[in-house]
């Protein structure tokens, strides 16, 4: 593949939706939090990661995931991978904390995020 999937200038695509609900909506608090976290860890004081690393991480999600995830889902996936790679957070504490956060959430977690059974194990 010469063209990478995120590099979409000129490809055929459907009509733009200038007046759809996403044209004027406010961002959800968690989406703004993703934005804020990225800005803080990439600021001059911390310089833990760059926006270039954010973009690389998003591109490396691969074509399937890239299209499946929403904009800020891609961002937090990339930010988190970068923070793990750099040793700022580790997988074990992240997994435990995500479980705790979900446990404490009044409406619980989305069930699709639970491990799927019956898949081939590797």
């Amino acid at each position: 593949m010469l063209r990478r999937h995120h590099d979409m200038g000129g490809l055929e695509a459907g009509p733009v939706d200038p007046f759809g609900p996403g044209a004027e909506h406010d961002y959800a608090p968690w989406e703004k939090k993703v934005d804020a976290i990225l800005r803080l860890v990439s600021d001059q004081k911390r310089r833990i990661m760059t926006v270039d690393e954010l973009r690389r991480g998003i591109e490396e999600l691969g074509p399937g995931v890239y299209d499946e995830l929403s904009y800020y889902e891609r961002w937090i996936a990339s930010v988190t991978n970068n923070l793990i790679e750099k040793g700022v957070i580790d997988i074990d504490e992240l997994g435990r904390r995500m479980a705790a956060v979900t446990e404490a959430w009044p409406a619980g977690g989305v069930t699709e995020a639970e491990p799927k059974t019956g898949g081939e194990s590797t």
Partner: protein, 99 residues
């Protein structure tokens, strides 16, 4: 850093397809345009993206293309143009090319 190309220079974008993170869009690779501004030295995003320093910084240019040169069957006006910011490592001298 001294910029290799001056404003007004004809340049072609390398028809290169490296697998990693680059900021040169696919649709201008191999195309010829004109430098309309030199934006200054910027850290190399192809290095920054992998946690490296981005040094040495690269000259960054605004390159203007005739939109009709970019797409074989472009049906807009022949006046239309497309301007893309391109780092110097992606540009070759095209002053010898006739347009």
């Amino acid at each position: 850093m001294s910029a290799r190309f001056a404003v007004g220079a004809r340049v072609s974008v390398r028809a290169a397809f490296p697998p990693g993170h680059v900021r040169t869009p696919f649709f201008i690779r191999g195309k010829t345009g004109v430098v309309t501004a030199i934006l200054g030295p910027y850290h190399n995003p192809e290095e920054l993206a992998y946690g490296r320093s981005g040094e040495p910084a690269l000259p960054l240019y605004r390159v203007s293309f005739h939109t009709a040169d970019l797409w074989r069957d472009y049906d807009g006006s022949t006046k239309d143009s497309t301007v893309v910011d391109v780092y110097e490592n992606w540009l070759d001298d095209a002053s010898g090319e006739k347009n």
